[in-house]
Amino acid sequence: MSKKPVFISRHEELPLQGGSTSLFLQIMVGIAVFLFSVTLSGVLAINSMLLNWNESILGSLTVQIMPSTHLNQDKAIAETLAHQEKALDVLRNINEVEKAEPLSDKQLTKLIQPWLGDGISIQNLPIPRIIDVKIKKGASLDYMDLAYKLAQATPMASVDNHKLWLNKLIRFADGLKLLALSVLVLVVMITSGAIFYTTQTSLGLHKYTIQILHLMGAKDTYVAQQFAKRSAVLALQGGFFGLLVGLPTIFGIASLAQQIEGGIISEARLSFFDWGAILSLPILAGLIAMITAYYTVKQTLQKMM
């Protein structure tokens, strides 16, 4: 046709935007994303903290030499130091050990200072001697073998590989992960439920138009795609607002945690990938919405001719 082109704006056949059901969906998804972003950031932070600890702890262990109970103080010290030397000998002959250094008197004094105060002479106290052992990077040390060799050399040595108390923390973190998983399941259920409900309502609302589309030869997929697209956009918007509220909350909790003394929590840092995961939550919500809407429509339309 040689006529001048006329601008014709295309309207959506199924005007799914607007209305209270859309707002309901956005709010539900917003709340879900908010809850999950906060939970996820907490779990990721604790996880990264544990990973840091684990790494530094796996590379080291402590050997403790119990003090001799000899009545003569000088002899007792000499005996303890002799045991220490024997333990050092064993440790330095193990391939996986990079370095084995006994803590100096000064270091020991510093360690007990918080409990016993200043002006304590370590010589007068029956305290254990400590050997700090660094293990070569990547080497796997056989702890049982080490303990056996040490016991052969001296009965006063005992190995502490820090695993015990770390394991308790790991169990705690695992509990938190389980919590996060339950929140995730809840979030997915809320999102899918909200989408299912709004899609059903919307299908009822647009029944007449859908019937016409069918009569014109539209496949169920054609209708389902329009619903899926719209739901994805709504969930994305809702999720974005949820994240917008979630981020300041995460920063707020983080700054409160920083104030806790001891620096334990301050080791909790979110990595680049952790942030990536948190920031992509609205996209996840959008995907869930899209898939749920698509299959809800397909299922519901099956019942129509």
Partner: protein, 245 residues
């Protein structure tokens, strides 16, 4: 008999075939009983009968909005009872329907309403624009392309509905009182469109009350009476009947 000539069967295959078809709603009595019907490619029929005789029910089986309560309906050689949803959708794309109540989508413009059958097929927008503009011009609605049905008169709505029914150059055109609301001067023009489509190979069924229409165009008549169907006129009529030897 039609079947006597196998030449007809290959050249003019049955577009719609009904055998022992009955239709009832819920547990009510049968509205239509024992309908036997075979409409060949290129045929043109009027469908008549009093109000409530079942014209709309018969048509709705033809445009695949309804399955028969009993018997078999085949459209384009496919048994409707066994066709899945996607197959039915593909069959509907070959059927153009003009509804008595138009069934236009209220929030869409005349242009978008007419474009609907092309869009559901996934046709290119430029091609859609070209075809729709051409047709809207032909039905004298080129000034109302952006108008929504609410702002159109009854006759204009009917012309939009007709344009939508023929935009996809259907193999089967079903129309329920298509000239009921249009002005006297445009009715012959619309009938000319149907006749022209029929000449090009489209099978046409028009439900009407208009004795004038039936008289002016001497096409065979499917008449519904007492839940049954009677055929008046040459039942082996096709648009190219003259070419048959």
């Amino acid at each position: 008999m039609i079947n006597a000539n196998s030449n007809i069967n290959t050249k003019y295959p049955a577009i719609i075939e009904m055998q022992n078809v009955g239709i009832r709603y819920d547990q009510g009595p049968e509205i239509l009983s024992d309908i036997r019907l075979s409409l060949r490619k290129g045929s043109f029929h009027f469908l008549t009968g009093k109000s409530g005789a079942g014209k709309t029910s018969l048509l709705s089986m033809m445009y695949l909005a309804q399955k028969p309560s009993r018997g078999t309906v085949s459209v384009f050689g496919h048994n409707v009872n066994f066709a899945n949803r996607d197959a039915l959708a593909m069959l509907r794309r070959k059927i153009g329907v003009v509804f008595q109540d138009f069934r236009l989508i209220d929030h869409l413009s005349a242009f978008d309403n007419v474009a609907l059958p092309l869009r559901v097929c996934g046709m290119d927008e430029r091609e859609i624009r070209k075809r729709v503009m051409e047709l809207l011009q032909w039905v004298e609605l080129d000034k109302s392309i952006q108008a929504t049905p609410a702002t159109l008169s009854g006759g204009e709505k009917q012309r939009v509905a007709i344009a939508r029914a023929v935009i996809n150059r259907p193999d089967l055109l079903l129309a329920d009182e298509p000239t009921g609301n249009v002005d006297n001067d445009i009715a012959p023009k619309l009938m000319k469109l149907f006749v022209e489509l029929n000449r090009l190979g489209t099978t046409v069924v028009i439900a009407t009350h208009s004795e004038k229409l039936i008289h002016d165009f001497a096409y065979p008549r499917l008449h519904l009476q007492n839940h049954g169907l009677k055929i008046y006129g040459p039942n082996d009529y096709t648009n190219m009947r003259g070419n048959l030897v």
